[in-house]
Symmetry: C2
Subunit: 648 residues, 2 copies
Amino acid sequence: MTTADNTATATGASPVVPTRGPRRGASVGEVRWDATSFWGTRIRTNAENTFDHCVAWMERLGWLENFDRVASGEETVDRPGWQFSDSEVYKLLEGLAWEMAREPNDALTGIYDGLVARVAAAQDEDGYLGTAFGHPGLPQRYSDMSMGHELYNMGHLIQAGVARLRTYGEDTLTRVATRAADHICREFGQDGRQTLCGHPEIEVALAEFARATGDDRYLEQARLFVDRRGRGTLPVRVLLAADYFQDDVPVRDAEALRGHAVRALYLSAGAVDVAVETEDAELLDVLQQQWVRTVERRTYITGGMGSRHQDEGFGEDWELPPDRAYCETCAGVASIMFAWRLYLATGQARHIDLIERTLFNVIATAQAPDGRAFFYANPLQLRTAPEAAVREEVNMRAEGGTRAPWFDVSCCPTNMARTLASIETYAAAVKHDVASVLLYGAGDIRVEIAGATLALRVDTAYPREGEVTLTVTEAPDTQIAVRLRVPQWAEGATGTTPDGVTQSVAGGWWDVRRVFTPGDTIVLSIPVEPRFSWPDPRIDAVRGTVAVERGPFVLCLEQTDLPAQIALENVSIDPAAPPRASDDGAVVRGAAISRPHVPTGRVPYDGALQASASHEAGQDIQLVPYHRWSEREPGTMRVFLPVALPTA
Amino acid sequence: MTTADNTATATGASPVVPTRGPRRGASVGEVRWDATSFWGTRIRTNAENTFDHCVAWMERLGWLENFDRVASGEETVDRPGWQFSDSEVYKLLEGLAWEMAREPNDALTGIYDGLVARVAAAQDEDGYLGTAFGHPGLPQRYSDMSMGHELYNMGHLIQAGVARLRTYGEDTLTRVATRAADHICREFGQDGRQTLCGHPEIEVALAEFARATGDDRYLEQARLFVDRRGRGTLPVRVLLAADYFQDDVPVRDAEALRGHAVRALYLSAGAVDVAVETEDAELLDVLQQQWVRTVERRTYITGGMGSRHQDEGFGEDWELPPDRAYCETCAGVASIMFAWRLYLATGQARHIDLIERTLFNVIATAQAPDGRAFFYANPLQLRTAPEAAVREEVNMRAEGGTRAPWFDVSCCPTNMARTLASIETYAAAVKHDVASVLLYGAGDIRVEIAGATLALRVDTAYPREGEVTLTVTEAPDTQIAVRLRVPQWAEGATGTTPDGVTQSVAGGWWDVRRVFTPGDTIVLSIPVEPRFSWPDPRIDAVRGTVAVERGPFVLCLEQTDLPAQIALENVSIDPAAPPRASDDGAVVRGAAISRPHVPTGRVPYDGALQASASHEAGQDIQLVPYHRWSEREPGTMRVFLPVALPTA
């Protein structure tokens, strides 16, 4: 076992470090957002509150004690938690590893050491680690590959090991992860059990573990798992068909992501890793096509994915209902994982566009300001006002319009924790002599490039305001390029080079190439005025509506911003009056729909039911960023706003 | 045990025979639709094909052998079928009982006798009957009240017993049913187990058994079950919350139907029976209000109920997506059961309006013309063309756009069988000296009224054509009224009395009162020209669309009726051009939507994405009755047709 060996990259303390291809993302510490910036605030809250919060819940529910019981050999009776509860501990360990590297913290180190000791004690001699199978009172190991989640759990363990290897080096956790990975290779290798795990995750974990350790056995095992998928191996049952697990069609043959969204996205991320490391251009191309089709036809305006509560799954093309949108928080995390890997492999701005959209509208939405409550699902419309938020109980359902402290299936809080702890690594990248700034926030960037250091101070109130000023504080003495991402929606953006020349810049990349000297400034001005966004007319569920976006924020209308006498369900807005900026939201012109009276007890379809709305007598309707919904009070909400209907 | 004793009614051979209140529905044989009429054809197909078909599948899958094994005392290993598979046998027995009374048939009698013998042999000494619990190799009786379906199964057994009692009298089946009902009263009575069955059905069964036997113990037990519900008695688990079972809110306190649709509707039907028999006006009023709210806000234009695949459940108010509409066939059956009981209790035409809507658009849709394949779910839009229909395998999923011969959960085929065998009893009713004709079809009506016989010959091509001629062939010599239902949608309907006077008649009831003599004719002319039906603007999922109805038929557009170069998803219709009749469907003016081009790999929401359609250059688009969809070939379909969108 060696510590991280990433010869292909200058540094390598980030979640994804390809050994093939010239592009690398920022390492922990290379981008530091100010604590007062949009994401800096959230990162700090994560460190201060969320880790503690998650540990307390896992202790309270007995999910940690599960490890102790296995370690002691005691028989398990009525094990608390789902088969995948171990993974929450591992995701938290991954997050702790990143956060401890960002900012050393004795309290977090104490938590980390305590958790690692309990986890390590539960590992079997042969490397197997799991508290739901294979011990007294539990089912046999690998007796339920469809839903047992054993490899899924160990995959998260291995990802935690990767984080620790890259930020610290070998320790107890990395040794535990190595033994688990070795066990899996022995058990499921070319000559081992010819099966796979119902929930993908082990693929992406093993591929990265190969990168982190330099040991290609793990990559080969990841490749085997990717190739085995889609051949109907997993036992199915009613309500769990093969497409739920992506075991219906081989990865190479699929046209779009389908089935359970988190499963599909984790699998895709792992498959990109395999494609990149094995230089399988055909596989990479297929995955890119699947991503394009999925983004174009199966993705919400928030970046959210997963249209169905049933199966927590993708719907068909254009099946994007706002009210029953599932848009699981973990699917947002997984979508970022997939898109980030495609970006590293191809260098396309569109992948970062989606990541930004998802960050500001799914990730930012999923967490309460105090970091102690979460959305599991992120619908785009709530029709019935929920009761007051309950902060003291496990939420049994992944819906309801209020953030909950913990869930019965509680994958999202710990996924948020590890994502927020590593989010800065998505903000910049380096390829040869090009340093790309991908996400904008006030803070400092310091990357190794062309054998020297490029340091940039970023001053901006983005995304609330659109001007981003980059000041060079340290630079190589050779020519390099600073590449800035211009979001596709940023019509009318301009860029000003260090010599004061302002030019218009189109969506995509804007390169400023020169020998930089400290004091040089680059200014990117992105118009963040509110704008109407019309849905593709094939999205039946939102026909006759329009959304309002402002910069990267999707806006929404909450009942709490309407006069008491106007119900949200009756509001229609005037598309002839462009939205105007207001605070960090917007104001549109709206009116209340009036409906003809119909007799009672009849179905709501009728020759006379066409509604009308008088926008001439309209009034201002206040919209706020979607990520803030349900923060002030639980209530009804909608992103897509009805416009006046055509009359016959 | 006595045979049917329905002193309050002249006859009583129909599924619902209240002992309180003056109104009774037609008995089997009182209405006979011609074999060539819309429903007559289906009734005949049911008798000739469907019973056979169901028995063959239940034999093939081992669902019948389950009874034999219990009877023999043999240990059960890997019992085939769900916990509720017994109920399919009982529903088929109920259907056989009605059909054998309609039209004696030796083959069906043979099937009936064979099934009854096998069922009877499996009954325990104490009256318990069930093949999934309480025998060697099976879980203990009543060990899973939430999902065990034991009382649900026995409820269907008892309903079969009711049908047999009323059409034949005491026999082996009715004795078996009586022992089961007695067992349940002992086991779950006032001093017995204080619990209830996760799937309502026993309530409606026991209430009717009390009516059929005159024994009020059964009614009291039904009342207990209704009152126990909604108090959080049933153990819940993830994805099975209390509202799924209607165990969240007492029946008297609920505002609308919610949770699993079939459960909610069976429960409501049973609660009406209890309210009527115990003269509980308050409960009846609450149920009526729940029905109104449900019809007005949670019902599809087809009459279908159940907006969610998740939980097979009702959605919230206005949550009525056409694509993910569940509209389970059994929910259609159950909705008719609920509405029919409310009609008998209150005499309101709106209940029959809903029954007619449901019959022509859910029940007629659910069955293939050969009576050997069925829809489980009845969505109002299919976006992706299914593969060719598979007629030889069990369908594991309740969706897909093709009728299947049998399902893993196969509640619908046998529910169709019992409904079609008794459907004529919903077509007429008698109250004192008023004979109501509720549903129109060519055939003969012969009812006892005012101590004499009223016989009517009905000549009509309804619903294809709107003229209905009733000719009196036998009549009492006293004054009576013939009451005709005028559907609410029938604007411009006229009625012609026996003396040749034609008058316009409004939606609701039209009474013709006189001393009739043979040869008298009454003509009701119902306009069945195609018409636009606009959805209430609060139904977000179909905003900007319009449906077309023709008479009681909802129409739909199938890809197969479009030129090959026009994809269904691109069609928009012109609301300024009224639909014109064509065959039994309609023609509307349509055009293909054109969309601006957008770059690839972007989410489908954009400032430029508004679509336009040129209806001036429109072409004829053919619509067909929804009940015929997927009969010619599997393909995409939609009921709600997009209209031109407003442009900013």
